[in-house]
Amino acid sequence: MKKLNLKEAKKQITKTQLLKKLAKKNLKGGTRGGCPPPFDD
């Protein structure tokens, strides 16, 4: 299947699909650089 980047893909998908894809890609890699895990009290 031909791979497209998101700028090309966005012409073929709805806003909801785009947001879902963007979120899905950012689930990988844990929380590095993102929210910290809870600190122990």
Partner: protein
């Protein structure tokens, strides 16, 4: 009070850009791209402050955590460069937002979800809400840049296994 985004974007600081290029040794982008990353950092900080202000004035609202998603690592690196100039950073936060913006972001919602639902679900909620919020405030092009295109600037230690998706995925 948080100032309009246009005023925040007008702020410039050459020292932050110089520090970023010195410290971020794996960065292979151009000077123009570094300028855009700095602009995106200012957008990010403005959104962070805007949501914090809403949270304080309307504590009943269910608002997202505004923090750094995986693809936004390069914005975080620019943030580190800015914070090191403590005097510039404190004055910037005070003048444009009327509050100090801490790093890392406190992410109280993520922490509560982490405790109640586990890390995976907490991360899913955090990312989904952040993507929706960025789209709502800044639109499609900036959302794609922050959550997809900026993966190319992630550090070698960071996982960047899948940058491109299929249209039928």
């Amino acid at each position: 009070m948080v100032k309009p985004l246009e005023e925040v974007l007008a702020y410039q600081n050459k020292w932050v850009l110089l520090r970023f290029k010195q410290a971020c040794h794996w960065y292979t982008g151009t000077d123009e791209e570094a300028q855009l990353i700095f602009e995106d950092l200012k957008r990010f900080l403005w959104l962070y402050a805007t949501i914090e202000e809403k949270r304080k004035t309307n504590p009943e609202l269910d608002l997202p955590d505004i923090s750094i998603a995986h693809a936004m690592e390069i914005i975080d690196e620019m943030w580190h460069a800015f914070i090191l100039f403590t005097d510039f950073y404190i004055k910037f936060c005070d003048e444009y937002f009327g509050m100090y913006l801490h790093h890392p972001v406190p992410c109280e919602k993520f922490i509560a979800n982490h405790r109640e639902k586990g890390e995976q679900k907490a991360q899913e909620i955090f990312v989904t809400e952040l993507v929706e919020c960025v789209y709502e405030y800044f639109g499609e092009d900036i959302s794609i840049r922050w959550f997809d295109e900026y993966f190319r600037f992630n550090s070698p230690e960071s996982s960047t296994s899948e940058h491109h998706i299929t249209a039928k995925e």
